[in-house]
Structure formats: C-alpha cells, structure tokens
C-alpha cells in the first residue's frame, strides 16, 4: 500500500461514488452502498498497515493511517453503511442528492481522520460541515441556518487554534506543533479554541443549540450525523489534547487531584451536558427531539472522559463513543422505521406498535439497553469505566451528575419503550406493517456489535489499548472478559452467567404458570373501560416530574441566545432609521464621519 492508494481508496473513491450516485435516481443509495462497502473492505484488509504518507497532487496532502484513525473510521464506515442501507427503502425525495451528500460527508470525515496537517484537516472538516448543512437544508431552512451559525462558529474556533499554532511554528504539520516551539501559555489558547471548535460538533453545552433542530431532519442522515459525524468532534478533541499537545503540556497548567486544570473544566462541562441533556430529553414528546437531547447527554459522558484524561477515563470515553455510534444510530433508525410506517413524530400519538413491528421493537430494545447502561450490553461497561474514572479521583460533582444522568436515561428510555411499542394500539395503526427488509437489516448490523462487545469487551479494549499506547498513554489493564482498575473493574463473564441463571429461572417461573396474564382493561380502569378510549397514557407522561423541575426549566440556553439575537435585531432596526433616503443626509453623515476620523487621527498623532 502506498500513499496514493490510500488516498484513492479513502478519499477519491467516495468522491467518485458521490458523483456516480447523483445520477442513480431511485437506486442511488445502493450505488453509494457499494462504494462504502469497498472502502470498508479495504479498511478491514489494511488493518495493521499503519504509517504516515504524503500525497503530492499539486498540493501536498500529508496523510496518516494509524490505529486511532482506523478505530474511528470503523465506526463511521459501519454507521454510514447501515444508514445508506436504511435509506434504500426509505423513499426519500431526490435520493441521488441525498446519497451524494452523504458520501461527501463521508469523504470529509475520512479526510479529517486521515490528515496529518492542520490545513487538510480544516479543508476536509469544512467539506464535511457543508455537506451536513445541505443535508439539513433538505428538510428545513430554519434548522439549517441554526446549524450553519454554529458550524461557522466551530470553523472560526478551529482556524483560530490553527492560526496560533502556525504563528509559532510556521508549519501546518502535526509533528512541528509537537516540537516544543510553542510556549505553554499559547497552548492554553490553542487547546481552548480547538476543544470549543470540535465541541460544537459534539454539541456540548452551551454550543448544543443547533443539535435538537439538526437531528430533526431525515432519519437515515441523522443516524449518520449523530452516530458517525459527531464522533469527529471526539476524535478532534482527543487528537488535539492527547496526541498533539500531550499529557506533559496539559499537566503544565497545574493539576487537581492528578487531572489537568485545563481538562477539568471541560470534564465538568461534559458532566453538566450529560445531566442537562438527559433532563431535557425526559420531557420531550417528539421522538426526534428526545433522541437528539439524549445524544447530547451521551456525548457529555464522552466529554467527561476526554477531560479527565486518565487512561481509564480515555478508554471509557473511546469505548462509549464507539458504543454510542452503534446504539444511537440504531435508535435513530428504529425511530425512522416507526416514523416511516406511521408518519407520526409524537410519542403520545403512537403506542402498541410492538405488536405490529416486533423486530424493530427487539432491535430498539437492545439499543435502549445499551443506552441506559443496563448490565449485559456494552453500554454498561463504557459507562462503568467512566464512573470508575471519576470515582477513582474522588470528583464529588462529576460522578454524581453522571449517575443522576444515568437514572434519567432510564426514564426517557422507558418513555420510548412504553410510548411507542407498548400500551394499547391506536385504531389508525391497526394496519401498520413491519419495517421493510433493508431497514431491518440495517438495524441488525448495528445491533450485533452491541451484543458481541458486551460479552467480550476484550476485543474492543484491545483496539482502545492500541490507540492509547499509540498516543503515548498508559494502557488499560484488561483481559478478554474483564477490565481492572484501582477500585474494582468489571467482569462481564460473571454478569453473563448471572444473567443466564436468572433468565432461566424467570423462564421456568413463566412456564410453571406462576405468572398471571392480566387483562389491560383491569389494569387501567378497574374493569370498566369504555371501548372507545385508547389505552395509552403517553400524553403528559412525566408530568409530576416536569412540575418538580419547572422552576429550573425556565432557564434555557436557547432562550438566552434568542434574547441575545433579539437585542441585536432591535438595535439594527434602530440603526436602519438613519437611512432616510435623502442624499443630503448621507452627505451630512459623510461630513460627520470625516470630522470624527480627523479628530481621532489628530488625537492619535
């Protein structure tokens, strides 16, 4: 494998695919799928062929292909594959454009991961960002504008960080930034800018405002955005903090219980994000918004791990990012399947669909187990690692916030489960069919890793270990089924055996008819239900909880931004009044401007 092949397969091939699939009309997602599959095969084949490359195509592109890149590319490749598979039967309007843009975003993501200098990083980041913008634009201009504002903000932050590095080193290469030319106080600015810039993509509070809107667009795309592209933020922060700056520089800002003072605020921000995202997710009635806030919350966990920066925390963060890629894409696809079949977005308008769409229900169930961190799924291990990392350092704010957020995750997961799949089936949904085969296949592909990595976390912990050692950090202590930490660890084999025993006991009890089937009518209305009322209580689902939180919910970052913007809009309306339309007034303004400039100039000299 040489540099040009690498470039050709991971960058040019998706670009060609993007071009071709534009003319594919209905079959565009299939064409795109083929190209993604080819990249995936090469990704599999080339595992281990790691190294740095330079491609000279007029401009010099410095590429690197290492285990970190590989790890993140694996996530993105799988997620986009299943998203496109889902899109095959999703009857999107202008499917050609959709596939083209998805592949462009994929190209950008690959480029961001592969690049070894800041310039190509920025270029590919923009390619990715703009294709996401156009994809959101397909649904709503308003949502796209919100995304655009924050996307541009992110780009500014990133380019400011890059600019400071360039000022000191005179080069865009990562290696030159490592060479120690940059003083540590400059690193503080660089890292803050880069973390905020990449953090926009991860939607950490208070830069999360775009996310609930962007995540309300087409489901297959949102699955890719939440599962795949938001991981680029994780990658960027991981790379800039631990690969480019390194632990030595982070610790030079001072430490707090062994955690860098630069990382700690971001860990705290991550914990707050996890907490706030979860609380907001609980009260959403729109399934898309619920999942969006849930996504914000879950990425908050990842941010905690990235901020803490111990090996355990980073391992947990990478593992959780990996899990999140799968279960959140799966959830978005499951929600997409339900929306595709029913045409409804509100949880309170659905219900009982588990009887009509059993496979979807099954897949979503597994995803929710992973999301809530229920023991048995890989989501449990990653969250457990993060908790232990916080508890290990005795962080009394971060650890409780995360634990509360985890309880909150149960609450909204239950809302999804109950509100959509359980309860009484609505009259108009009596004829709903199971989701089409490609959609089920897409969800199945995403479900498998969640199961496999829950039993044998050792596989993925092996990769994560390689990532950590490649970056120059201490590895995690793990075996095939277990990982160890200073305060315990977790053994998945024990969990599985316990689960199996309990499961068979439960099955035995069920078979022995100890369980009594209760009629739903008895359950709800003491045996006196009017037949016309649907037996579903998803309306005002967590009302008591919401009333408890009402004093807090009136503070909103959204509204703060709106007030801020309204201030400017009003101000500009006032300023607009000076344009009277009379040319003589403009001449007078010109004279006044002259006067002011001359006075300032005279005063300066």
């Amino acid at each position: 494998m040489d540099a040009l092949t690498l470039f050709g397969i991971f960058i040019l091939l998706p670009l060609v695919g993007a071009l071709l699939s534009y003319f594919g009309r209905k079959y565009a997602p299939i064409i795109a799928l083929i190209f993604v599959a080819i990249t995936g095969i090469f990704l599999y084949v080339w595992y281990g062929n790691f190294g740095s490359y330079t491609v000279d195509i007029g401009v010099k592109l410095n590429l690197t292909f290492d285990i970190t890149t590989w790890f993140f590319m694996l996530m993105i490749n799988t997620v986009i594959f299943s998203s496109l598979l889902f899109a095959v039967s999703a009857d999107l309007k202008n499917a050609g454009g959709f596939s083209t843009l998805m592949l462009l975003g994929f190209t950008g993501a690959n480029g961001v991961l592969l690049s070894r200098d800041f310039l190509s990083l920025y270029l590919f980041w923009e390619l990715m960002s703009w294709s996401v913008y156009v994809l959101i634009l397909r649904t709503s201009g308003e949502y796209a504008r919100r995304y655009l504002l924050f996307g541009v903000l992110s780009a500014y932050f990133i380019i400011m960080g890059i600019g400071i590095i360039y000022y000191y080193t005179g080069s865009f290469l990562y290696e030159d930034a490592l060479s120690g030319v940059i003083p540590y106080y400059a690193w503080a600015w660089i890292l803050v800018f880069l973390i905020l810039g990449f953090g926009v993509k991860m939607a950490i509070i208070p830069l999360h405002v775009w996310a609930p809107y962007a995540y309300s667009s087409e489901q297959p795309f949102v699955s890719f955005l939440s599962g795949g592209l938001s991981k680029l933020g994780t990658f960027g922060i991981y790379m800039s903090m631990y690969s480019i700056a390194g632990v030595g520089i982070l610790d030079s800002f001072g430490t707090f219980r062994g955690v860098s003072l630069l990382g700690y605020p971001f860990a705290l921000l991550g914990a707050i994000t996890a907490f706030v995202g979860t609380i907001l997710a609980i009260f959403q009635d729109d399934i898309r918004k619920l999942l969006a806030y849930s996504s914000i919350g879950q990425l908050g966990y990842v941010m905690v791990g990235l901020g803490l920066g111990t090996s355990l925390a980073l391992g947990g963060a990478l593992f959780h990012a990996f899990n999140h890629a799968f279960f959140k894409s799966l959830l978005f696809l499951g929600a997409g399947a339900v929306i595709y079949r029913t045409g409804k977005y509100k949880i309170s308008e659905m219900g009982g669909l588990g009887y009509r769409m059993p496979f979807t229900f099954l897949f979503v169930l597994f995803a929710i187990f992973g999301l809530a961190g229920i023991p048995l799924t890989s989501g449990f291990i990653s969250k457990w690692m993060l908790y232990e990392a916080a508890i290990e350092k005795k962080f009394v704010i971060i650890a409780p916030l995360m634990l509360i957020a985890s309880v909150g995750a149960f609450l909204y997961s239950y809302r999804i489960l109950y509100g959509i799949f359980l309860g009484g089936l609505k009259e108009e949904h009596k004829k709903v069919k199971e989701a089409p085969a490609p959609m089920l296949a897409a969800m199945f592909i995403l479900m498998l890793p969640l199961l496999i990595f829950s039993i044998v976390p050792g596989w993925i912990l092996g990769w994560i270990n390689d990532v950590l050692t490649n970056t120059g950090l201490k590895p995690i202590d793990y075996t095939q089924f277990t990982y160890y930490s200073s305060i315990g660890g977790a053994n998945m084999a024990t969990f599985w055996i316990a689960f199996m025993v309990l499961f068979f006991v439960a099955v035995a009890i069920f078979i022995m008819k100890r369980a009594r089937v209760v009629n739903q009518y008895d359950n709800y209305f003491a045996g006196e239900a009017p037949s016309s009322v649907a037996l579903h209580a998803a309306h005002n689902y967590y009302k008591p909880l919401k009333d408890t939180w009402a004093p807090m919910l009136k503070y909103s970052v959204d509204r703060a931004y709106e007030k801020f913007s309204k201030f400017f809009v009003d101000g500009f309306y006032e300023i607009k009044k000076i344009y009277t339309g009379n040319p003589q007034d403009y001449a007078a303004y010109l004279g006044i401007a002259f006067l002011i400039f001359l006075i300032i100039g005279w005063w300066l000299l």
Partner: protein, 242 residues
C-alpha cells in the same frame, strides 16, 4: 434648523481640517527619504518620487516638460483610463440630453460685431490650442489644456451663431481616431518592446519639436480627443436650437 446644523458641521470641519493641515509644511524643499535600493538605477538612493522624476525624467522620456513626462510616459496607462472616464461622461451627457421630439427653441441672433469678431478669433484660438498640445512636451500645456482651448473656440461659435451646429459624425470620427491612435501606439510599444505604451521612437534632441519619442503623438491624440469630447458635451448641453 438644517442650515444651522450644516453651518456648525462646516465650521467644525474647517477647524479640524485646518488643524490637520497645519502640520504639512508649505513651500519647503522636497525632503529626502532614508536610503533604499533602487532597482531601476541599480544603486542605493534616497530620492523621493518627484526628485527621481526631476532627476532622471529628461533621460527617461526625452521630454522637457516634466508634467507631460509624468502624465503621458510614467503614468500613461492611468491617462488612458482617465480619457476613458472622459469618454464615458461625454457619452452619458449625450445620451441623457438626447430627446426624441426635437422641440426647437428660438434663439435671438447676436449682433454683427460679435459675429465678425468670433469669425476672426476662431482660427486664432484653434491655432493656439493646436500649438499648446503640439508643444506639450516642450512648453507648458499639452493635450488636456489644448483640447479645452479648442472646445472653448467652438463654444465661441456656438455663442455667436445661434444656428451653428458641430456635426456629430465628424466629432465622433475625430474622437474615435484619436482614441484609436492612443491605443495603437500603446499596443505598438507592447509589440516592439514588450511593454504597453513603451516609448519606442527615438528621443531626438531635447527642446526640439521632434523629440521625446511617442509623447507628442499621444498628446496630440489626447488633445484631439479632449477637444472633440468637450465640444460634444457643449453641443449636447446647448440642446437643439433654431
């Protein structure tokens, strides 16, 4: 109210402008720059731009009048642009003053003294204008003043003879030919020496009429062009008369 405001603004501006310009010396010798490398002369020098023009202008261009040297040779391309602005302005006047229904105004005939005098003077003024722009590189003057003088001679005719009308076609032809000459001379420089408006003719002896290469050619062209354009403007502003 507005008057008072404008007056206040004007007085304030006057004070501030005066304060600003009080720092610029008047009538003092041109100051030198710090030493810098001059790639054209291939030596270090401390001359400001006007000093350079005044020192090397005679050798560089062959013209005696340094203003002409700057306008036509050093900054010849700018002058081409300025002539274009002039052309656009005169075209604009012509098109704005054009009227479909020609309402002819009655104009009183002027007396015999004026008519005879203007007939007599017309030739002399034209001759003077031509002299000014032909000798632009030797004596004060050049294409711009010469053209203006020629236009003012036509103005005299317009004032003296109510029915006088310069023929638009002739004006257009002379103006276009002049513009064409300017551009062709520039292009010839491009062909011969590789620079637009390069002074490719021999310089000859200074203070002689046939000296300074292409400068007289271009200045004559500018003179004709400015003259015909300004005449066109006057003609358009006069309107149609009887």
């Amino acid at each position: 109210m507005k008057r008072v405001l404008a007056l206040t603004l004007a007085i304030l501006l006057f004070i501030v402008f005066a304060m600003a310009f009080a720092k610029i010396p008047f009538g003092e010798k041109m100051s030198n720059y710090p030493d810098y490398y001059n790639p054209i002369e291939n030596q270090t020098s401390n001359m400001s731009l006007p000093q350079h023009y005044l020192t090397y202008g005679k050798n560089d261009t062959g013209a005696t009048n340094m203003v002409t040297a700057v306008v036509v040779d050093y900054r010849g391309f700018d002058t081409l642009g300025e002539v274009t602005v002039l052309f656009l302005a005169s075209t604009g006047v012509g098109s704005l003053m054009y009227v479909e229904d020609k309402v002819k105004r009655k104009v009183r005939r002027s007396n015999a003294v004026v008519e005879t005098g203007s007939k007599l003077l017309f030739g002399f003024i034209i001759l003077f204008g031509a002299y000014i722009f032909i000798h632009g590189h030797l004596t004060p003057g050049g294409g711009f003043p010469g053209g203006a003088v020629i236009a003012s001679s036509f103005l005299l005719l317009y004032l003296a003879y109510p029915k006088f009308h310069a023929e638009h076609k002739k004006l257009n032809v002379s103006e276009s030919l002049a513009g064409l000459t300017f551009v062709i001379v520039g292009l010839l420089g491009l062909i011969i020496a590789g620079y637009f408006l390069y002074n490719f003719l021999p310089f000859g002896l200074p203070t002689y009429l046939f000296s300074a290469g292409v400068i007289p050619v271009i200045y004559v062209a500018i003179g004709v062009k400015v003259g015909s354009e300004l005449t066109g403007i006057v003609d358009a502003m006069m309107g149609v008369r009887e």
